[in-house]
């Protein structure tokens, strides 16, 4: 039973999160699948599968490989495209009482802008009809698994600035920018996002990694490298969230290897406003409901009445 005596809420650019547990892009589809297993409306938010302007088939070959406490993935942004999302998936989100974040990727600067414009137009139309729209755009400039776009924009600050500026101009929706741990200087990157008018930064995306099949004498991935996620990356993610949270005034959405309530608390103490949970969904199909319940329990046990009491205290 979830205790109502503790306050887990947070707000980012006017978007309300009833709790800090947000499902991370790429691990939760658009929520429908997990909605068959538990009430995903109890989550703080959902960041949907990364979208590109056009539908994308993703990478060939092996797409996932387990490492020590980590997961390498090379899905390559398979997705139905922005328009298909808006017409086919968003109606499901309309019914959910949770923050709805659309994760937007792109091959080119123009793709990002056109994608953001489509989402903005849809939000405008919905507003006129009094219907719920997307609450926030999470700009993905950090996917390591696509050759063009993705991380190509997310490593160097000047290239990232161009994308953030162009998308900021294209939409008035709350905008979070998802940063890559592979960035040359992630704190500088976050400062740039703030300066360009982003409402939040989310970090970290997966860390570029590799696995070699020694018998076949080649990488197990057709793309050579893949993105590492899961508990293995948590210390790195936590450090980066801490660094960035001390350098910017906009909220930080923290993620990387969260599998427990204490992991969430660590990220909040490092300065995160809310967190995202990715790989843990594959370890526990009811990860969202488990974490929300555990978090309440932990807060009661530790006499934490509001996450604001501990946010950024380290």
């Amino acid at each position: 039973m979830i205790s109502t005596s503790v306050n887990t809420t947070a707000t980012i650019a006017g978007v309300h999160f009833k709790n800090p547990v947000v499902m991370a892009s790429g691990t939760f589809g658009f929520g429908k699948e997990y909605g068959k297993l538990y009430d995903v409306g109890m989550l703080g938010g959902i960041s949907g599968k990364g979208l590109t302007l056009q539908a994308k088939a993703g990478n060939q070959g092996i797409r996932v490989y387990e490492t020590a406490s980590g997961l390498l993935n090379s899905v390559g942004l398979e997705n139905p495209g922005v328009e298909a999302f808006l017409s086919k998936e968003l109606p499901y989100w309309e019914k959910l009482d949770t923050a709805r974040i659309v994760n937007l990727g792109g091959n080119t600067l123009a793709d990002y802008v056109l994608g953001a414009e489509l989402i903005q137009r849809d939000a405008n139309e919905r507003a006129l009809e009094g219907r719920r729209a997307v609450d926030m755009i999470e700009l993905n400039i950090s996917c390591p698994n696509v050759k063009e776009g993705g991380i190509a924009f997310g490593v160097k600050t000047p290239a990232a600035r161009e994308v953030v500026r162009a998308v900021r101009a294209a939409t008035s929706l709350p905008l979070a920018v998802k940063l890559s741990p592979n960035a040359e200087d992630i704190a500088e990157m976050a400062e740039m996002c703030e300066a360009e008018g982003a409402d939040a930064v989310s970090l970290i995306n997966t860390i570029s990694g590799m696995k070699i099949d020694v018998r076949r004498r080649r990488s197990v991935f057709n793309n050579l490298y893949a993105g590492l996620s899961g508990p293995a990356i948590k210390p790195v993610a936590l450090r980066m969230v801490h660094q960035v949270a001390h350098r910017v005034t906009i909220p930080v959405i923290g993620m990387g290897g969260i599998t427990s309530a204490t992991d969430i608390i660590e990220f909040i103490m490092a300065g995160a406003t809310v967190v995202q949970v990715g790989t843990y969904n594959f370890m526990n199909m009811r990860a969202g409901s488990t974490l929300v319940e555990e978090l309440h329990q932990f807060m009661v046990e530790e006499s934490i009445t509001s996450l604001d009491e501990i946010r950024g205290i380290v």
Partner: protein, 234 residues
């Protein structure tokens, strides 16, 4: 949490796991299983070998850390099950052939129970296992060790053909199905794909399958697909 009834070694690296509880499922569907805590991270998809009053049964081959842990399970051990998931083999009428290669025979036993007049073809590269369990269920049972079981099957003789095995075998079955279709009888060939999975329920797109009409998911659109739909990449 469910409980292991038995976990019998059938052959080198091949085990028959029986799990207690009311676990349903249709032929060709699978469960996500784990018998550990945080590591390995992913649960393992295993197709249903049999469902009965006692519980659900699986056949698995030890290929990595997860299945190695399964191999160490003994009666009474706890095991986590989620499922059943996926679209299995269709309920069909007419003359049916069930063709299994290696551990690919796993889902076909449940098919043989449901379609008792089927001809069953089981192929193994080195060592046969579980073949005698099929004998009373099959109209005709053909077992091959070391050869190519597909060579024993006349695709023109069947209305429906269910195949599960390694990818080269599935690809060969697809080609034989296409050749038979060109010849006139046109059996419906269904392939059960074994893909790596992370979520098992259609969210992660790790198990994506290239099909003629675009990408589909092995976990929810499959694991059983009409052979003619699948596009194999080398």
């Amino acid at each position: 949490m469910a409980t292991v009834i038995s976990n019998e070694r059938l052959a080198n690296g091949v085990y028959h796991l029986r799990v207690e509880g009311e676990h349903g499922g249709k032929m060709g569907q699978f469960y996500m299983l784990r018998a550990w805590g945080a590591y390995p991270l992913l649960s393992r998809p295993l197709s249903i070998h049999q469902v009965n009053d006692d519980g659900v049964e699986f056949l698995y081959h030890v290929v990595g850390e997860g299945t190695e842990i399964f191999a160490g399970l003994t009666p009474g051990d706890p095991i986590q099950l989620e499922g059943p998931f996926g679209n299995g083999f269709p309920e069909v009428e007419g003359k049916v052939a069930l063709i299994g290669g290696g551990i690919g025979i796993a889902p076909l036993y449940y098919c043989a129970r449901q379609l008792p007049d089927s001809d069953v073809y089981l192929g193994f590269s080195r060592e046969a296992f579980r073949t005698e369990a099929f004998r009373p269920l099959a109209a005709e049972l053909t077992v091959d060790v070391g050869g190519l079981i597909l060579n024993s099957v006349d695709f023109d003789s069947y209305d429906h053909i269910f195949v599960c095995g390694p990818q080269p075998m599935l690809k060969a079955a697809q080609m034989k199905g296409a050749a038979a279709a060109a010849g006139g009888r046109s059996p419906k060939v269904y392939l059960s794909l074994e893909n790596r999975m992370a979520c098992g329920i259609g969210a992660c797109l790790v198990c994506s399958v290239s099909c003629r009409d675009g990408q589909r998911k092995a976990c929810t659109d499959g694991p059983v697909f009409l052979a003619e739909e699948v596009v194999f990449h080398d």
